[in-house]
């Protein structure tokens, strides 16, 4: 009896943030004169309504799942890897670099090389932040931010400079890749089943390594108390570098996918804010790998669905971002309220 009540109260405690977030969203919509029910319906049909929408949602899911898995590693090591946006971008740059070297290659050779090279790029970019943090004592938030700015500048430089289209540099990006170098997708749809399999694989590997490996445990230790971990004999510097490298490689992988699945070229804001969304997802997951996949799907659906709002209801698509952020904020604050109530 008490067991079920306990379960119910716990369920209501975890559902409450969702309801509060929903309520805020409804208030916001009413305040701006939009019909709330219709909006949510359109948000849903806009992301799952047709097979093409579902496919688009999964395209975004792949990116969010992989990047949040990577971020889980740096968060476990106690690091705010704000530089993840830049790492995605550099992944795309490296992917494009590789592609430009293999313009005439077949996809079987070209695509794996592009992906690996992008992962190397992302990892290297992340390592820069780590090196600054470890050897230069520069807070990773500002290091990461700096490297985001630099990656953006470099990306723009390439698009309008050395890699500009034959007709001149434009914001629409570099020359489109030859179709051989596009990641194969399902017929008529934009989603690539191989990418989904890779994303699932990444999730499983990250989950298992945090659970059952010495590396995972050591990461946890440096995340919670780096000094004590060091004194206990944990090789903190190599470990920190490895955490950034893994996260950077994941970001690089996302960068490669954005180039060879979504845009087929390098574009200015190639990272599309997925890195920051990944941070939100990890915060929402309470650092539990099992939650990443469903949360990433939810975020992907909101992102794709909100584009449809513009067309269907003339509601600005930034509403999606507001919903995502408010949800995470409310969950975080509710956790605090819960703790306060319990400690009383």
């Amino acid at each position: 009896m008490t067991g079920s009540r306990n379960f119910l109260s716990r369920l209501s405690l975890s559902l409450a943030p969702l309801l509060v977030a929903l309520l805020i969203a409804i208030l916001l919509l009413v305040a701006t004169g939009a019909p709330p029910l219709d909006t949510f319906a359109k948000l849903f049909t806009g992301s799952f309504g047709t097979s093409s929408k579902q496919a688009d949602t999964f395209v975004v899911w792949v990116s969010l799942a992989i990047v949040s898995a990577g971020l889980l590693i740096t968060f476990t090591a106690g690091q705010w890897n704000i530089g993840v946006e830049g790492q995605i971008m550099v992944g795309s740059i490296f992917a494009t670099w590789a592609a430009r070297g293999m313009w005439e290659q077949s996809g079987i050779v070209g695509i794996p090389v592009i992906i690996l090279w992008a992962m190397v790029g992302g990892a290297l970019w992340a390592l820069l932040v780590a090196v600054l943090k470890i050897y230069g004592k520069v807070n990773e938030i500002f290091g990461g931010l700096g490297f985001n700015f630099i990656a953006t500048a470099f990306n723009i430089y390439l698009i309008f400079g050395p890699w500009k289209q034959k007709t001149g540099g434009t914001l629409s990006g570099t020359e489109i890749f030859p179709e051989a170098l596009w990641m194969p997708t399902l017929p008529e749809l934009r989603v690539s089943p191989i990418a989904i399999i890779i994303a699932l694989f990444v999730l499983v590997v990250i989950y298992l390594s945090l659970r059952g490996t010495l590396w995972g445990l050591q990461l946890k230790a440096i995340g919670k108390n780096i000094r004590a971990a060091f004194v206990l004999g944990v090789p903190t510097n190599p470990l920190m570098l490895s955490a950034y490298a893994v996260c950077g490689a994941c970001a690089g992988l996302v960068g490669a996918f954005l180039v060879i699945i979504v845009h087929h070229r390098l574009i200015p804001s190639i990272s599309s804010g997925y890195g920051f969304l990944g941070i939100l997802i990890v915060l929402l997951s309470s650092f539990n790998a099992l939650w990443l996949a469903p949360l990433a799907l939810f975020f992907a659906a909101v992102s794709i669905g909100s584009t449809a709002l513009q067309l269907e209801l003339n509601i600005d698509s930034s509403l999606g971002g507001v919903l995502q952020g408010v949800l995470v904020l409310v969950v975080l604050l509710m956790q605090g309220i819960k703790e306060k109530v319990i400690s009383k």
Binding site: L28, T32, W80, I82, L132, Y135, G136, K137, V138, N139, I141, F142, G143, L145, G146, F149, I150, T152, A153, I156, Y157, I159, F160, G161, K164, G169, F276, I279, L280, L283, D316, S318, L319, G320, G321, V322, Q324, G325, V326, V328, L329, L332, L333, Q335, G336, I337, E339, K340
Partner: protein, 322 residues
Amino acid sequence: MEFFIAILASILSDSAPIIFASLGETLNERGGVINLSVEGTMLLSAMAGFAVAFTTESLVLGFLAAMIVGAIVASLVAFGSITLKRDQVAVGFILTLVAGDLSSFLGVPFVRVPGPQIESLPIPFLRDIPFIGPVFFERDIITYLSFALIIGMWLWFYKTQPGLQLRGIGERPEASFARGGNVKLMRYIYILLGGALIGFAGAAFSLHVKLGWSHRATAGFGWIALAIVIFGGWDPLKVAFGAYLFGALRASATTLQSSGLEVPVQVFPLLPFPLMILTLVIFNSRGLDRVLNYLPLGARRALTRLLRSNPPAALGTHFEQE
């Protein structure tokens, strides 16, 4: 010479928003709380300030609205971090994203709409001082306020009793509490004040510098303001110096285009951001220590004190008062 004066004057008035934002953040962090939401707060308040000034045709109301918006976002940071003891960085980061998106969402009707703007207001007599006059005293009320804020905050920190107390709560809250400070209340007050200043910065952006509102209009200025606070070692004068340095970098980005550098024009506007962060990195890295180590002790001490100072010791920590 005339050109030089014009450029200097432009830097001073274009830097006003960054001055307000970074000094607002200085106030927060001196009290021990990081408000990472600066970028989002500035966006939201820039939008709100413009929207209100546009609809009411009153600049004063616009600035007021922006300050209120800034204080509201800050109150969420305060509530989350002081009362609920959540990670300050997490709360601030989420608020950055939420406020940013909210500004886009609510700001749709005001995108690139022409609206009211701050007029220039030369100060009689003072403007006639050679060089000083045209540089400092042919500006507008917002720029004058930014000057006043720099000096006022310095006086507040180092010459007044409440300012001393403020430094105390960011340094060692338990000791401040022992000396009669109501740490939580003071932290709330200073976060709200700091937030209001950051909000003011937003309005200064849309009503003073950018002349209007568009999506994501602050584009990294909030982040830079955070970096400038560190660069300036939490000291109002040095923070202001950092803000002007950034302003100078931006001004040179515009001029650099005609320098004949073989770089696409789109790269120039981006350069001040990494440059500013790079400066921060150099100033805060161990490399500087190594260089300073070669200097004689006296010079080293003085330089160290000038170039950097430690963050408020309790920055980012929670405090529980009985």
